[in-house]
């Protein structure tokens, strides 16, 4: 009673050392209800042991298996084959854009991780701080005293950076995941972070394409967070204009509210 098998051609981007990149084709019998990553792992296990690709958790918590599937950014471990191709169809698998390729489908994530650290994104957080909209909060006991600690929504997969048109043309742009990370940490009272976010390579570089939000597999909504950060930055600028920049004065004003 299992679903009938499909035959799908995996066209996989290959690159070794300094040799020119090319695509290799592997015809596989798959179940349409398998994930794209399962097919890639089978190519490695049974057809070509030299294939390099990143993967770990196979259920969208680690963020290692981001790739481009038929031209779109996908977390391959949760992308069903039936959703991206058809029986007799093709799956063109490429590494993410805007990251250096280590080999084949594996990219070097160094730049993203460096910047996430720079903006002080918190890998674990209280649920209240993590949620961006109350209706998006998971069910469960969420009283103020009873908040729980959980791993952040952002899994640092890099898909948003790969999909972002600005990250492609301006490598120095901090990028959607990183600005979302700054938003999660909060810029209030954090001079250094505010300066970074309010810089040429920060929130003002975004052209509101919202490709980031479209490809995010983890509900982070980087596009929304960037827009919200802009409001916060302007708010901070106003505060300074009217109250002076002495933190002591700001504290007094806050306390008198």
């Amino acid at each position: 009673m299992s679903t009938p098998k499909w035959v799908v051609t995996f066209q996989i981007y290959r690159k070794k050392g300094n040799a020119d990149p090319h695509f290799d084709e592997f015809k596989l019998e798959v179940s349409p209800d398998e994930y794209v990553l399962d097919g890639i792992e089978r190519v490695w296990a049974f057809h070509d042991r030299s294939l390099a690709f990143r993967h770990a958790c196979h259920h969208s918590t680690c963020g290692a298996c981001g790739m481009r599937v038929n031209g779109a950014e996908k977390l391959t471990c949760i992308t069903l084959i039936r959703d991206v191709t058809q029986d007799g169809g093709v799956l063109r698998i490429e590494p993410m854009r805007n990251f250096p390729v280590v080999s084949d489908l594996a990219v070097d994530m160094g730049i993203l991780y460096t910047r996430m650290e720079m903006v002080e994104h918190q890998p674990v957080n209280s649920d209240a701080k993590e949620a961006i909209q109350p209706e998006a909060r998971p069910a469960g006991p969420v009283g103020e005293e009873e908040d729980y600690i959980r791993l952040s929504d952002c899994i640092e997969c890099g898909l948003c950076i790969s999909a972002c048109p600005i990250s492609g043309s301006s490598p120095e742009y901090l990028g959607p995941a990183v600005l979302a990370g700054a938003h999660q940490h909060g810029i209030k009272g954090n001079e250094q972070l505010l300066k970074l976010v309010d810089s040429e390579d920060g929130v003002w570089r975004c052209h509101s394409a919202f490709e980031c939000t479209a490809v995010c597999p983890s509900f982070v909504e980087p596009g929304w967070r960037i827009m919200d950060l802009r409001k916060q930055v302007i708010g901070e600028r106003f505060k300074r204009l009217f109250r002076g920049s002495s933190p002591k004065i700001i504290d007094t004003m806050e306390a008198s509210k």
Binding site: R42, P138, I149
Partner: protein
């Protein structure tokens, strides 16, 4: 005098933790890994930071290891852990009958538990099966598998360990006396081959240890035992929910980020490199998970995957095998020097496994250095990649 050199095969949990321990003890460490960090069993682990409650009745040695290591990991690597605790819940009479043994077992293994009434349990976790009869709190937690491994790897790198990922061991290099002196590897990123020599080779390949050891003619009694895990797209509980009974299929529901994961099953395989997800087992996870958290029925499957446990087999099989770990000095077991194998255990006990292995390595090489990994806080997992730049 130059540092003693050790090659570790495998960058799963035991490999990275052993690299960290040995680097702290002053060794020159090279880790060779055919994939990336945690791309075998470790990355695909369930993600429960075990309190030991699961093993408190039938496997008390593992239970004690779990509670002790649980407390240490909370301290040294809080950046990858959801520390929200867990519940063991009774749904039927057979679960209730298990309660007495459970309490005794937890007491014997110094696992702190607290008995709750059904109402208290439902107040804590409103999405539990309303038929819950009794519950106990335990200090379970959950973790992100890749980030746990990366934190150890980052700390090891900081202390000089080198990680050669996408570098597959092809052969153990054996000298005229039949002893291991290094590894021949294939770098898959450049498609080149090379030989790396060391004073000692540690086989930290989990379920694959038997295959690796056989290259030297050594034997490890390993029983690779996969199980299925299914992730669902909503977080209906905030704590690890365990069935109050003997360990069985699909009796743990755990929260992770915005998801829940239900696991697991237990069967044996021979081909380890690709274990297909069996549809029927996914169904069992849904059915069994629903007994603990009925709302699972209204969520969607987000991912399904298999991980292969490295159980140390004697004559027994599956669930009856103890979940402790063992370090084999092949000089003692097979009269082959230069090779040490570490396997068995659980993700929760990775640090203890590394300590044991590093002790054996130190003893073999006449190095006097004590283990400090219980106290040394680990670097952020991000540092592993930062050090690339």
């Amino acid at each position: 005098m130059s540092k003693p050199k050790v090659i570790i095969i495998g960058a799963g949990f035991t490999g990275v933790a052993t690299a960290h321990d040995l680097a702290l003890r002053g060794f020159d460490v090279v880790v060779v890994e055919r994939g990336e960090i945690a791309s075998g069993t470790s990355g695909r682990t369930h993600g429960v930071l075990h309190s030991g409650g699961r093993y408190a009745v039938s496997d008390q040695e593992s239970a004690v290891e779990c509670i002790d290591e649980n407390m240490i990991l909370r301290k040294i690597v809080p950046q990858v852990i959801e520390p929200n605790g867990g519940l063991f819940i009774a749904i039927d009479e057979s679960d209730l009958a298990y309660a007495e043994e459970f309490i005794e077992g937890c007491n014997a293994c110094h696992i702190p538990i607290q008995e709750l009434t059904a109402r208290q349990a439902l107040e804590m976790e409103p999405n539990l099966n309303p038929k819950v009869l009794a519950a106990f709190t335990v200090p379970d937690g959950t973790f992100d598998p890749l980030r746990l491994a990366l934190s150890f790897a980052a700390s090891a790198r900081k202390n000089g360990a080198r990680f050669r990922t996408y570098t597959e061991m092809e052969q153990l290099i054996i000298d005229g006396q039949g002893n291991v002196t290094g590894v021949k590897v294939w770098d898959r990123t450049t498609d080149t081959h090379e030989e790396i020599y060391a004073d000692l080779v540690v086989n930290a390949t989990g379920a694959w240890v038997g295959e690796i050891a056989s290259h030297a003619g050594a034997h490890v009694p390993i029983k690779p035992t996969p199980g299925v895990m299914v992730a669902f797209d909503q977080r209906l509980v905030q704590r690890v929910i365990n069935r109050l009974n003997k360990p069985g299929d699909g009796d743990i529901v755990l929260p992770q980020r915005r998801m829940m994961v239900v696991g697991t099953t237990s069967f044996e395989v021979t081909d380890l490199d690709y274990v297909p997800v069996v549809e029927d087992q996914v169904k069992i996870m849904l059915e069994r998970g629903e007994e603990l958290v009925p709302g699972i029925r209204k969520t969607n499957v987000r991912g399904a995957y298999m991980a292969t446990r490295p159980l140390i087999g004697g004559g027994s099989t599956g669930r009856s095998i103890a979940r402790t770990f063992k370090c084999f000095d092949h000089k003692e077991t097979d009269n082959i020097d230069g090779l040490v194998t570490i396997t068995g255990g659980k993700a929760t006990t990775l640090r203890a496994m590394a300590e044991k292995t590093a002790d054996v390595v130190c003893q073999k090489m006449g190095v006097q250095a004590v283990c400090t990994t219980k106290e040394v806080p680990l670097l952020s997992y991000r540092d592993y990649y930062l050090q690339n730049n």
